[in-house]
């Protein structure tokens, strides 16, 4: 680690966090802290929770955030730790910091507008400039976004359309092997219109073909944030939970019980949109780093459970 100074990655990260809080405070968002230890974690496939004292460490704060939206809060923001077992790599750490914000009565356009304003604001506060400089090129955070449909991106760079014929393994392999490396890097990129099998908690538009109302933000080829036009329908939630439970069972992953408190709030959950942004990854990009290492004060590797 370099000696303490204003250019130190931890100093850049600290200014970034302060700027994020200021940004949402100025827009009248309520900052909340929801439970870090939860009784039942999110059931999505491929996400493994860390057990903690009879419960689990949260893999995401989203279900509690939506319960607060159902209580009538219009704008919510949270910055806090999340945990996912087994995820260690240059862009992964089993303990990471998530920024989530939600708007009631809004859709993806409003979330996108927040993000367009947030990125340069935070970058200038943290680094004095509104670009990401990493390796050869430069990502201009004020440039018009490149918006790409998943179907179009896959047809162009992987030669097939996952919305026409779903193949999970091929989708994942081609996403990391062919599509992500080909994404433009000079400006922010939003990949949108996901196959319904990857809708997660996003509502799906009927189509044809049906597509999930979700976008992923990429900066300099790195996935940074994931936004949903939130699914609010209880029956569809229950259908997805049943599918996820079957997938988890097949993969040998723990099948957690349903979150009844969350399901119960769905009758009162208004139309809303929300986004989860990887704080460590954004800090890494603003520091021009290739891995999370410099922006984590300590990269500890406790034994895997």
């Amino acid at each position: 680690m370099p000696p303490p100074s204003a250019d130190h990655p931890l100093a850049i990260r600290a200014r970034m966090l302060a700027a994020i809080r200021e940004f949402f405070h100025d827009r009248d968002f309520l900052e909340v802290e929801t439970p870090v230890r939860v009784t039942t974690p999110v059931l999505e496939p491929h996400i493994r929770a860390v057990p903690a004292g009879g419960g689990w460490l949260r893999t995401s704060p989203e279900l509690h955030m939506k319960r607060l939206l159902a209580e009538g809060w219009p704008r919510l923001v949270q910055i806090g730790p999340c945990f996912r077992a087994g995820e260690t790599g240059p862009l992964h750490h089993p303990e990471f910091t998530m920024l989530e914000w939600y708007r009631a009565g809004a859709g993806l356009d409003e979330i996108e507008r927040d993000l367009r304003e947030l990125l340069p604001f935070v970058a200038v506060r943290a680094t004095g400039r509104n670009v990401i400089r990493r390796g050869e090129g430069e990502t201009d955070l004020t440039a018009p976004w490149a918006k790409l449909e998943v179907a179009e991106a896959f047809r162009r760079w992987a030669g097939w359309d996952p919305l026409a014929a779903w193949d999970e393994d091929r989708f994942d392999l081609d996403l990391v092997g062919k599509v992500e490396p080909a994404l433009p890097r000079d400006r922010p990129v939003a990949l949108t219109g996901y196959p319904p099998q990857r809708a997660a908690f996003a509502r799906t538009a009927p189509g044809p073909p049906p597509r999930a109302e979700r976008f992923e933000l990429y900066l300099d080829g790195v996935e940074v944030a994931n936004a949903y036009d939130e699914l609010t329908d209880r029956t569809e939630h229950e259908q997805r939970y049943a599918e996820w439970a079957a997938q988890r069972q097949a993969a040998g992953d723990e099948v957690h019980p349903l979150d009844d408190a969350f399901l119960a709030c769905l009758g009162r959950l208004p139309r809303c949109a929300g986004i989860a942004l990887g704080v460590d990854r954004l800090a890494m990009l603003l520091c021009g780093a290739e891995s999370l290492d410099p922006v984590l004060a300590f990269r500890e590797r406790p034994p895997e459970v």
């Binding site: 790599g89 240059p90 994942d172 990857r198």
Partner: protein
């Protein structure tokens, strides 16, 4: 069998019957997707590299690889014969298998043979630098110590390489067996 989570730098694996070494690997996991390992792998026979991504659930074959340290014994005109000093087992290698390594063999020199399913697929010198006499080259230009201007020269085995202008016939030079290139002039032996 390995599973993808065993992958790490330096691990040797087998794909479609071909042995590879993992030279780079990264954990990747796209949002909502499965965990994968994005690797750069080197074909141990052709020495070329390629990218390959493995899913967490993939099973990967373990290659039957064996490394033997042997000594060069003699050349019988068609083959080069090596001996394992512990077992006295002999290995007879063709010029094709040895490639350029055959030009740098010296009496009793130690080489490492990498065998895949019993077949030698790679030959490396235990000491990568050898010293050889220049048996043929244009006369040297005295005082020209520049090393970036070169001329052709031959060593006793017939191997041709580029050497600086100041090198003379009868000089001894050090050669890097991994690249086949001139390194420096050394004292006459």
């Amino acid at each position: 069998m390995y599973t993808a989570s065993d992958l790490r730098k330096g691990l040797k694996i087998e794909l479609d019957g071909v042995p590879y070494e993992v030279v780079e690997f990264n954990f990747v996991k796209p949002g909502k997707g499965q965990a994968m390992y994005k690797c750069r792998i080197k074909n141990l026979i052709t020495r070329t590299t390629q990218d390959r991504t493995f899913r967490e659930v993939d099973k990967i074959n373990k290659p039957d690889l064996e490394e033997r340290i042997v000594h060069f014994s003699y050349e019988d005109g068609h083959h080069y014969v090596f001996t394992d000093p512990r077992t006295f087992e002999e290995f007879s290698l063709s010029p094709e298998t040895l490639g350029d390594a055959r030009y740098f063999l010296t009496e009793d020199c130690e080489v490492s043979l990498l065998r895949h399913n019993g077949q030698v697929i790679a030959v490396e010198f235990v000491k990568p630098f050898v010293e050889k006499e220049i048996v043929e080259t244009e006369p040297g230009v005295r005082g020209d110590t520049a090393t970036n201007v070169t001329k052709p020269a031959k060593i006793d085995s017939g191997y041709e390489l580029r050497v600086p202008l100041f090198i003379n016939q009868g000089d001894w030079v050090r050669i890097d067996t991994r690249t086949g290139e001139y390194v420096e002039r050394v004292a006459r032996r």
